[in-house]
Symmetry: C2
Subunit: 146 residues, 2 copies
């Protein structure tokens, strides 16, 4: 388990816009990663978390796995495409969570070592403080050796 | 043609996170709307515009049409789902642009008047300052009477 607070500081330094959004890593395990954004300043004046903030809290998970299950010297994660479905309006802080099996992580690492790159698919759920699923995402990422 | 500067001020007030991202409306016609984000603070430390910022500059277009072609008292635009494909890394300011025909606008308005809501699909292109398409999006929105 990587330290979530350390990862939070690291990603906010790499991606400056995470700072005003308040993106925070709350779980950084080999098989599950999770991130959180607070209500303010992501809630708009209609009282709902802005769509782009829901996108961000879910999208970031693909990169977090490169710090946990997909650690490979000189390799970086890239997002290739992402589909987000907005299920319900959220009016509180939200948490996005995604999982990856050991087998999938081994496949991605082996393929990247062999071919210089490998794609992986992540499905994430974004839930509000009542546990309601407010959005779901399917993202295609690539681990790539530079 | 609605005034882009006025719309910029309006959406930044409605959606506070647009302010630090620097989201700006640059075109607000009946048939075409466009928005722009600057490089800083959206460019990350890998030198590319962050995926969530590319999402945002494209996603906002669906709502802008509710200020131009889809003006209907008491009706608000909602985003239902959005797919974004990341084509190339962007390292400059980017502009997202989407179009809607008069026939499509009339259909959406008529359906909303009749049924209280109507869906519309928007395809947007996000280009960098060299004119390279860096991302494309397909968003499903709903105009809904409250």
């Amino acid at each position: 388990m990587t330290d979530p607070a350390q990862l939070t500081a690291q990603i906010r330094q790499l991606i400056p816009i995470f700072e005003p959004m308040g993106v925070e890593v709350v779980e950084a395990g080999r098989n599950t990663v999770a991130a959180r954004i607070p209500a303010a300043p992501n809630v708009n004046h209609f009282g709902s978390v802005y769509a782009g903030s829901l996108f961000t809290v879910a999208e970031v998970l693909g990169g977090l796995f490169a710090q946990t299950a997909l650690v490979l010297e000189g390799a970086v994660p890239l997002v290739k495409s992402l589909t987000i479905d907005f299920r319900r309006p959220a009016s509180t802080a939200v948490v996005a969570r995604a999982s990856m099996s050991d087998e999938e992580a081994e496949r991605v690492l082996a393929e990247t070592l062999r071919d210089g790159k490998a794609e992986y698919l992540l499905e994430a759920e974004v839930t509000d403080e009542a546990g309601t699923v407010v959005a779901t995402t399917r993202g295609t990422y690539q681990l790539r050796r530079l």
